[in-house]
Structures are given as C-alpha cells and as structure tokens.
Symmetry: C2
Subunit: 304 residues, 2 copies
C-alpha cells in the first residue's frame, strides 16, 4: 500500500497507539513514526522493543514536522496534551485522537488547535483488556470499525486522508456526529463496562462466598465479565466522567429493565423470561453475521 | 482408564449430556451409554451422529438396567422425569443430575427415588452458549469444576464412584451443601446471565440507536454480553424460577453497588471509580492463575 503520511506522531504509547504503529508499519502507511508517553518507563520499553521509529522526550518534540498527530491518551488528559503541542503543530497537519468519547474531547482539544491545522476526531472500536506499550498488535483493527467524527467545516481532503489511513490499517470506516457517537458507545461499550465492573466488585465483596469460590467456579459465566473488568482503570474512569449524560441515561434504562425481569422472577412469570431470553439471541446472530465476533463456542477459548 | 459404570443412561441429549457421552467414551468410563430426549428431532440427530450407543424411545426404556442415570434436562423438567423413571430404576443404581440449581432439584427429584437407589445431585460448572445434540464435545469438562451436592445420608461409596466418573471426564471435583451451592452460583453464573440478558435487551430496544449500529459497533465490549445472552432460553428461565431467593439477593446487592457507581459518575468522583476499577483486576488475575480462563487478550479470539 502507498504511504499516506510522511511523519505520524503518536502521543501516548499504550494498546491503541502500539497497534496503530504496528498496523501502519505492516502496510507501509507512514514514512516515520514518532512517539511520546508521559511515563519514562513506557518510553523506555517502547524504545527497547522498537515500537515506533523514534521515541521522543516530549510531546512537543514528537509532533514537530509531523503531518499527522494522533492523541492516544486517556480522554481526561487530551486537553492538556493539546495545549502542550498546539504551538508546535505544522501548518496543514492533521490532529486526530482515538478517545472513546467524542463531545468532551472536541470541547477540550478544539480550542488548542491553531488555524491551518485540521482537527479530525476519530474512535477505533477495537481493544482488549490489556494495556501498556507491549499490548499492541498489528491485527487489532482488522475488520473492526473506526468512527470518524468530523467537526463543523472540517477539510474534506484531510478527512479522506485519515479515512485512507484507517482502511490501510484494516478497519472499516464510518462517519458520525459527536453526540450520537457518545450515545451509541454508551450502549455498546460504556454501560456494559460499568455493569461488568459492578458485578465483579459485588462478587469480590460478598462475605458469604469466598474469593476462592468465585475464582474456581467462574467458568459458569462470570469469567466473561472479569475480562471486561480487567480493562485500564484510568481510561475507564475518564470515559465515565466525560460521557456522563449518555451513560447515566442508558444505565437508567438498564435498571428499569432489570427491575422488570426481577419482578418476573419474583412472581414466577416464566413466559416473560422465556420471551426476553429468546429475543436476545437474534442480536448475537447479527453480530456474527456482521463479522464482529466468532461463532465458535465460548469465543473459541475452549481447548478442543 | 478403567470402566466405572456398566451402563449409563443420559436423560436429555443437549450440550452437557452430549459432552458427557463423548468424555466417557474418550476414556472408556462406561460399558454402554443409552440416551433419551423428549424431542423426536433431537433423538433422530443423536442417533444419526452416534452420540450415545443406543437412543431409546422413552426415558423408562433408557434407564432399565442402568447403574448410573444422569438427568440432563432443564431444572423445571427434573421432577416429571424423575416421576417417570422412578419405577424402572434398578436397585443399587445411582441417579444424578447436572442442573444449575440444587435445592429445587433435590426437592423435586428426591421423592421419586425408590429405596435402594442412590440419589447424588451434581453440577458441572462448564458450558458454552451453544445447545442441542450437536453442541457437545469431549473436552468441555477438562480442568473445570464439578460440584457434588450429596443429600443427607448418601452412600459414601456411591459418591466416590460418581466423583471418579467426573474426574475421569477431566473435571476437578468438590462437594458442597445445596443452599450454599445455589448462592455461589447466583454470583458466578445466574446474576451475570440475567444482567447480560438485560443489557442486550436494552440495546435492542433503544429507538435512538439502530440495531445495525449495535451490531457493527459491538466489538467495544458489548459482544461479550451477547455470547452469554445467546444461551438456551428454557434452561435459563428454569434456573431463575428455581433459584429465586439467591438470585434476587445478589441482584439486590448488584443494584445497590451500581447506584453507588452511578452517583460517583454523576458527582464526578473519579477516585471512587478508579479505586473500584483497580480492585476488580485482581479477581481476573486469580481466575487466570486458577486455570479457569485464558490470559490471551480478548479470550484469544483476535486473529493474530
């Protein structure tokens, strides 16, 4: 594939940035990839494993001469990083991000983007429960979706170039408005994460069931929740604080529905339960048909 | 491995029974395996694929001459099946089951077990989201736990023989009292399933987010929930109706905790969220160290 950007700067060197670096390299999409992380330890590891072409000692240094800068830090840190790099951005460059929340990022980052620099927020819907500079892999985005959330008046050519990059990294691309993005993600990601964290915390807290029992007998379903609840705490704290309204709205709907099912259990309304449980199977089928999950039993983790 | 039972009758021919048949055959644990399922279609498929040695046209016929009978039907059907086979059970035989709830099964099945027949309830903590006669595989129980829940005065030698069978099928075995079993499973399985079903139902119901959006963008976490919510609706209806008290107790604790986290989001209490999300990582580590889940990112379903 042809090179799309001459120099890409990745700010933050965790799972997403690392996977981007490896995916860009896989297809030769970037001339040079620079990187910066706030933690000296992360920079050291990234340099040792050659995650990017050049690890820099400051965000300002990393973005100098870059025609694409991607902010890959927790949502709550985006504003500060943007303020720091703003003065060093090259005219004509594009600034993007990979944050799980878009409205708050636009509000925090937008004001720091100088005239002549394109700001095109994005969000790849891919990840694992792992984090840190060694957690990335080139195939993370293959077949997954990346949502581009252009701000008003964004440059069409610059958007297309960023789309090409994501397609080159294996993703499918769609565009979406910021508030709608935040609502959709509250459903497909933010509420499920909070629910999983909650259930795992409850299990850990119960005095009448030991931790050993929870751990040994987790294969009956619970272990699926613990994978999600092992995700990066800083990232997720920031997601919830920055997508407050949509998350609380979905959680409100969730609680309402949960109460209805609890009442069905209490009153012995088996038909209500059966109908509900039958309907949810269809969504799973849709996800498999759309290529967004494996149809192999138990995600294929069962040794056969 | 040596043969443990001369003739094993499996009543119900779904995921668990099928996996038991294949696991017993793998190690030569049973002389003959008979099977019966209420659905003629299931019996036909089971016979075609040779799931058991002999598919019978009635439960009574299947249990004749068996020294082990295992009830592998939904929890709500156990009582009727026990009433049906009671008169045909051979003296000295053992009747067991694989139900996800134990107190209700003991109450429903116990009265139908004649004198001279051992009744030893059990519950293998293993499964997938698949169901039906073709869903079983010999490795399902490898490394998983099977809980034996002996009733008062149960024969020690008969218990040991059933333990040997489960160990022979690859499982680790522990014994537990019925009510405690039902509480532990409410935490590790029943509440998580209801929560997953609820979240998937909510996503399906939202008018402001399309089903296509839910399906395409599910890789951000939601798809883990849909696997659980694709489980057999009849089985799960019966679980909730028959483990009402423990499930409602755990759901009550869950809701309480969820409200506390929602309040933290609303008030912007990032420390509360961060601490909670950090604590839940430890449980995941425990599960991986106990060999109950894979440490590979995303359950290993990511193509690398």
């Amino acid at each position: 594939m042809a090179q799309i950007y001459d120099r890409v700067a990745l700010i933050g060197l965790g799972l997403i940035a690392g996977s981007m670096a490896l995916a860009m390299r896989r297809s030769g999409l970037a001339g040079e990839i620079t990187g910066y992380a706030r933690s000296a330890e992360t920079r050291k590891v990234a340099a040792e494993i050659g995650l990017v072409d050049r690890v820099c000692d400051s965000a300002a240094e990393a973005v100098k001469g870059a025609d694409l800068v991607v902010l890959c830090v927790p949502v709550g840190a985006m504003g500060n990083v943007a303020a720091e790099i703003g003065p060093y951005l090259q005219t004509g460059a594009t600034v993007s991000d990979v944050g799980s929340v878009k409205r708050a990022v636009i509000d925090a980052v937008g004001p720091h983007i100088p005239d002549g620099v394109h700001f095109i927020p994005a969000h790849p819907l891919a990840g694992t429960e792992k984090s840190g500079p060694t957690s990335g892999f080139a195939e993370l985005f293959d077949g997954r979706w990346c949502l581009i959330v252009p701000v008003e008046g964004a440059d069409v050519a610059a958007i297309q170039r960023l789309r090409d990059l994501w397609v080159g990294m294996g993703a499918q691309v769609d565009e979406m408005e910021a508030d709608h993005h935040d609502l959709v993600l509250a459903v497909t990601s933010h509420a499920p994460h909070l629910i999983a964290y909650t259930m795992v915390g409850v299990a850990d807290d119960l005095s009448r069931v030991t931790d050993t029992e929870v751990v040994n007998y987790s294969a009956a379903g619970f272990r699926d929740f613990t994978r999600i609840a092992a995700s990066d705490p800083t990232m997720w704290r920031d997601v919830f604080l920055n997508n407050k309204d949509a998350t609380l709205e979905i959680l409100g709907r969730f609680t309402e529905e949960l109460f209805a099912l609890q009442r069905a259990i209490r009153t012995g309304d088996g038909d209500h339960l059966f109908d509900y449980f039958t309907r949810t199977r269809a969504i799973r089928r849709g996800i498999i048909e759309a290529g967004q999950d494996t149809d192999v039993a138990d995600f294929g983790r069962v040794k056969k």
